[in-house]
Amino acid sequence: MTDQVVEPEVGRSRPRKEDARLVTGQTNWTDNINVNGLLHLAILRSPMAHARIDRIDVAPARERPGVVAAFTGQDLAEGLGSLPCAWPVTEDIVLPDHPPIAVDEVRYAGDPVAVVVARDRYAAADALEAVEVDYTPLPPVLDLEAALAEDAPLVHSDQGTNRCYVWPLATGESYATVRERADVVLKRRYLQQRLIPNAMEPRAVVVTPLAASGEYTVYSATQIPHILRIMLAVVTGIPEQKLRVIAPDVGGGFGSKLQVYGEEALALTVARRLGRPVKWTESRSEGYLATHHGRGMIQDIEIAATREGRLLGLKVDLLADMGAYLMLVTPGIPILGAFMYPAIYKMDAYDFTCTGVFTTRTPTDAYRGAGRPEATYAIERIMDELAVELDLDPIELRRLNWIRHEEFPYTSIAGLTYDSGNYEAATDKALALFGYDKLRAEQADRNRRGDSVRLGIGVSTYTEMCGLAPSRVLRDLRYAAGGWEAASIRMLPTGKVEVVTGTSPHGQGHVTCWSQIAADVLGVPFEDIEVVHGDTRAAPQGMDTYGSRSLVVGGAAVHHAARKVVEKARKVAAHLLEASEHDLEFTHGVFSVKGSPEARKTIQEVAFETFSSHDLPDGMEPTINAEHLVDPDNFSYPHGTHLCAVEVDTETGRTTIRSYVCVDDVGSVINPVIVEGQVHGGVAQGIAQALYEEAVYDDEGNLVSGTMADYFVPSAVDLPEFVTDRTETPATSNPLGSKGVGESGTIASTPAVVNAIVDALRPLGVTEVRMPCTPQRVWEALRSARSSEEASA
């Protein structure tokens, strides 16, 4: 008999089960998959942002050594449908056709125009050079405001407009009315630069056909094997039950692998045509063009307040760059953000409008926080500006306006019901860790001395909506799918356990955390649990992993399924012990009869006796396995306070992060060390948006930052040590009390850093620095502040 677990697993900093493979190189990345007869697919991409394809000839490529086939868009068009957009946010949204490979017109630099299939990857890459294409350039569409002009060139000429949609939300009182009674109205424009996701594993797909039965196995570096399977069936017409999608080890996603990509459809189509296994792996530079980008917004934000600092209303006008096509959830990203601009603050009126705009650039979609970092940035930047305007400390202004602990649950002006939170506690803890007053004193001293290196302090308080979830809310938002999640628990005859989850991890540690959850409910050892995921045959139901939903929804499903197993086992145990179910206690995996502890059965014994099924209760099926699909009735709302101190060298413009402190409330924690790691990674990304990263296009629409050598991905020397801590107010929407953590660091950190930079330079007349706040941008902001000072002198 196995020893029963006594110490609770949930809450322990368990080193991960996942690591053994990863630290020894015994990995199963998609590109590692090699099968007999494998062909390598390479894609020729448009070198222009916008052009008509006048002529394309792949015949010369077919002559090259090692080449097996080559196809144009026209060759593949039959039987290959449009790539899906699952979030048509308005009824009258413009939904252009999105062919996986261009047929007559290219709409961004990187749009696929031809594919070559060869016996090895070098031969396939070589043969691309032999494809002949004649283009007639068309005007690029790059500026979001100019794109909306009457006579603007069109990205999709058949649609007659570059305006994809207009999505409004107005709640509370009329904004115009509260604006009238405001003492102070501030208006600002913030720019969200485009970011390139850069998951360390490039995207890859391998398709292996079983010609005789018409079945296909699609291995993909994806976050969404279940959704991908459905969508590939729709796009290719291959029946869903003939498709098996496997997400093997996946090397990061950050939203960029929450997608149904043209390459996945192309690899499947080519494998089907040739009856041979096909692999495509992107190079990093190819990925920069072909993997969706994040952010890309112009934010006009206006805030109205009383002289005392009470917020009255908020107005947001957003222009969101869709890029050339709508990908899986492209239009919905700014809409997720719409609910987050009011953040943790109380106010009387909220007025939001987002206009989605087509441009001739790589499509945008979900990326690290997806809409919420952008919202948090704008509100937290303008709160600092308001504090300056009112001569209040930025933290005091926040205190005046935030929802107080005793007011939860609280329905925000945007209509979300925040179930739990404690902004005071998180902020007080962060301030103490940071040494706020001491740093303010040092700052004043440096300013007095006119030090060339200025100190700046930035704060950011945030909340976010995690755990997508409530399916009926998603329906109201016109999101095509539900938000439920599935889990099943298989108690094996030997007493070991398989947890089958519908979530599909790519670094988050689901195997470890789900094992901890199941171990506690079932009372079995952590080591005895395996977690099955990422294969639509082995784990047939699921809505996959994105938006910090996995633990909150998927982890909750594991909890519920395990509870069901215990209840089934209780019936068997009661029968075997000849006792009433109500007289059985279940502790640490043991059923015992109240008052006579020697009458006992372990859950493992029950599993075996159920398997043998020699003596089961009448009418009971011989299984204690259970499945649960959960659809929570609310989102979850992590929150926290991030504080950043920067030193800005006013002579060089260089910013150095002096200290970074964050206190996050992600509800109850399953594995503290995993939570800490998630926060670190998120904060790193948020700092990177503030200081380093930007996808830069030239006037022709070419991606100038087109390789890792041109796009600054920060390394260990570019990032500081982080001080992280937590407060804990459990979520009420799931039995774990967890809120989700994957995005919090990214959401909170960008405004903390930029607020700190502006705070450092404000005595020198600077009120804004555009992201990323590179030395050059800082230096230019200082120069223009100086020259406007001189002009007014």
Binding site: W29, G252, G677, T707, V717
Partner: protein, 156 residues
């Protein structure tokens, strides 16, 4: 085609390869040693870092023919008698990896650092790993793991 002889993780391989074949593709596609992944095509990310005759190299910037007569150690050759290398243990114990894609390169680069500087400071670790990019961890736990593997006291 060129004939090469390379000892990789203790086994000697004789092969005919194209002169342009990169070492990383030789390891992955020809030898099936897929523990060394590829993260970029500009030698920026460091995911493919291996040891070549005692020198740490990015195997995407070395030709297979240049490795002729050499000894290569990859992440798959680090464990001995089933016992993980101190860095492998430390990365696991300190949660210094999430998706794990950069991990082989990180460990190989950190191993090189510890050979040259057995007791580095945190800043020295950061500088030594400048050529290895990670998108998940924010590097903090990686730095802690390398310090821990060096036998130094590390705060949690």
């Amino acid at each position: 085609m060129t004939r090469i002889s390379v000892k990789v993780d203790g086994t000697t391989y004789e092969d005919e390869v194209e002169p342009r074949l990169l070492l990383v593709h030789y390891l992955r596609d020809h030898l099936g040693l897929t523990g060394t992944p590829i993260g970029c095509d500009t030698s920026n990310c460091g995911a493919c870092t291996v040891d070549l005759d005692g020198e740490t190299v990015k195997s995407c910037s070395v030709l297979a023919v240049q490795a002729d007569g050499s000894e290569v150690t990859t992440i798959q050759g680090l464990a001995h008698d089933g016992e993980w290398h101190a860095l492998q243990k430390a990365f696991h114990e300190r949660h210094a990896l999430q998706c794990g894609y950069c991990t082989p390169g990180m460990i190989m680069a950190a191993r090189d650092l510890l050979r040259e500087n057995p007791a580095p400071g945190p800043q020295e670790v950061r500088e030594a790993l400048e050529g290895n990019l990670c998108r998940c961890t924010g590097y903090q736990n990686i730095v802690r793991a390398v310090l821990a593997a060096s036998g130094q006291e590390v705060s949690s």
